[in-house]
């Protein structure tokens, strides 16, 4: 059996499943700095990458980790890093460099409670807005949120596919609970796994940042005679700095539009008992699992409740939520109201908010109370 895809049923933690997803997606470079609760991702990659001809580097910090994976991606490898809150903060500058240089990479953030060092090894979901706006400037973000080890595997592959498709860093926004819980993970045979690879530039006369019709420029291979200049400065189609309003408008407009115009391709959610629901709970990650139980409990008590689970957090499924806006809404998350802002913006009214500052997931009962309040 080939070592890159461990076909079959396994009993894995979310962290380990994410590492396996990366390897199945073709990731062959990992640079990171261990930080709980994400360390198991690095640990698994350190053991697995040498088996499949990949490279694992433990870097001196998260700034360097992020820089290393950008470099590896330009070198032609699929590359990933994994971290948690404090490390994610340190990665923000080079995350922006990845957006500006249109570099496909995957950043796994296994969220713990912050701010700052916060609660190592205890749950938080407070990095939702940081995933969207953490680095400066105008850009679009792509962030996925798994609720189980199986989804950690599947969504890491999807994160790589989106990164390659859009030439953009993609964030796998996990949380401590999902990262540390163990569940069955079914790894399908290679031929059943959809893999997207970046477009490669072939024409040596073409400018390296000249986009195709989908607004994404093919990526020039390094060492094959292309004149390649990679800079965080605003650059023209040749890749050279062009410090003026026209280039800024054109180039930054394009790196936003390449995602904004295709957002419907990326948006992904699950609706559970939503059809006849009078009240809908919006949740993601571990909180969605508490909410699912709460919805079942509410139904047993005669309240028509449903769950709207964000599988992709960014871009946000505002259109669908707007369609559902005649219902009552509850938002549950382990922070002080981040997805809440987007939900209320979409439904154009207030939602009942069930927040927690972190350290433990919601008990289903806590979300049930929110559901009862919403239908009062």
């Amino acid at each position: 059996m080939s070592k890159d895809i461990l076909v079959g049923d396994h009993f894995l933690s979310g962290d380990v499943a994410a590492a396996e997803g990366a390897i199945a997606a073709g990731c062959r470079f990992f640079a990171g700095y261990p930080i709980t609760p994400s360390s198991e991702v690095a640990e698994r990659m350190a053991r697995r990458l040498p088996e499949v001809g990949g490279i694992f580097i433990q870097m001196e910090d998260e700034l360097a980790s992020m820089a290393a994976i950008l470099g590896a991606s330009w070198g032609g490898r699929k590359a990933m890093t994994a971290t948690s809150g404090p490390g994610f903060s340190l990665m923000m500058e080079n995350y922006g460099l990845g957006i500006m240089t249109e570099t496909p990479v995957v950043i796994v953030n296994v969220q713990r409670a912050g701010p700052s060092t916060g609660l190592p090894t205890l749950l938080g979901q407070g990095d939702v807005m940081q995933a969207r706006w953490g680095t400066h400037g105008s850009y679009q973000a792509i962030a996925l949120s798994p609720e189980s080890p199986q989804e950690c595997f599947d969504m890491t592959i999807k994160a790589f596919n989106l990164a390659e498709r859009f030439r953009q860093p993609v964030i796998l926004l996990m949380d401590e609970s999902v990262g540390h819980l163990f569940e069955r993970v079914t790894i399908p045979p290679k031929e059943e796994i959809e893999i997207v690879n970046r477009k490669i530039l072939k024409d040596k006369n073409r400018k390296i940042y000249e986009p195709d019709e989908d607004l994404v420029p093919p990526m020039p291979p390094i060492g094959e005679g292309f004149g390649i200049h990679v800079t965080g400065l605003t650059h023209d189609e040749r890749g050279y700095p062009s410090i003026n309003a026209e280039t800024q408008e054109r180039m930054i407009g394009r790196i936003n539009d390449k995602i904004r115009k295709y957002a419907d391709e990326i948006v992904d959610y699950e609706e559970f008992m939503v059809d006849d629901a009078e009240v809908i709970v919006v949740a993601y990650g571990i909180t969605a699992r508490s909410a699912r139980r709460a919805v079942i409990m509410a139904r047993e008590n005669g309240i028509k409740a449903g769950l709207f689970r964000l599988k992709v957090i960014w871009p946000f499924p505002s259109k669908r939520l707007e369609e559902l806006s005649d219902r009552e809404f509850v938002v549950a998350e382990v922070n002080n109201g981040q997805a809440l802002v987007e939900v209320e913006r979409a439904i154009k009214k207030r939602a009942v908010f069930v927040g927690k500052m972190g350290g433990e997931p919601h008990k289903p009962q806590e979300i049930l109370k929110g559901i009862e309040e919403a239908v009062k």
Partner: protein, 179 residues
């Protein structure tokens, strides 16, 4: 079978995490049940409170943590104080006989079992296998997991050089007669 919760509590170093993981793995991979394993522990490597949870259901488990365990396995006095109040009314309580002291079995306990797992482990040659003795005992007394699956998971998850000792520990726990 509807949702069923098992919680194992003790102190760090007793192997309560591995005990839970073995049972959950056996249920998930070999008994083909829907099972989730979770753990809770302090920052200490040894001595702090430690617990593991296994939740089983017919369909995919939603909330993955034990809320009111149907089966509670306790391997230290501190864990008894922490977790006993959460035991479901009429639930099963299993204790490490020499590490948990109680005057009498509390009323809300429906089924009670006890085993001096640490002492038996010492007699087998290493107290470190007390957790696997407990896994054998849980397998026998609760019937939540098949013997073949549990044993297979034990043998897969322990280092090769102590496989025989762990197999003996599992069998000893499984065949222990409560006096």
């Amino acid at each position: 079978m509807a949702r069923l919760e098992l919680q194992i509590g003790g102190f760090g170093g007793q192997g309560v995490i591995l005990a839970g993981l073995v049972i959950a793995r056996a249920l998930s991979l070999y008994d083909k049940k829907e099972a989730v394993f979770t753990q809770a522990y302090g920052p200490e490597a040894r001595g702090g409170a430690s617990s593991s949870g296994v939740v089983i259901d017919d369909e995919r488990v939603d909330y993955p943590y034990p809320l009111n365990p149907d089966i509670l396995v306790i391997m230290s006095q501190e864990a008894y104080s922490t977790y006993f109040p959460r035991l479901k009314e009429g639930g099963t309580l299993i204790i490490e006989k020499n590490l948990v002291k109680m005057d009498k079995v509390p009323e809300k306990v429906g089924e009670f079992h006890s085993i001096p797992a640490t002492k038996i482990a010492e007699e087998l040659g290493n107290r470190i296998v007390a957790n696997i003795i407990m896994v054998g005992f849980i397998t026998k007394t609760t019937g939540i997991v098949s013997k073949e699956s549990a044993k297979r998971a034990v043998l897969e998850m322990v280092p090769a050089k102590v496989r025989d000792l762990n197999e003996k520990a599992f069998e000893t726990g499984y065949s222990y007669e409560e006096g």
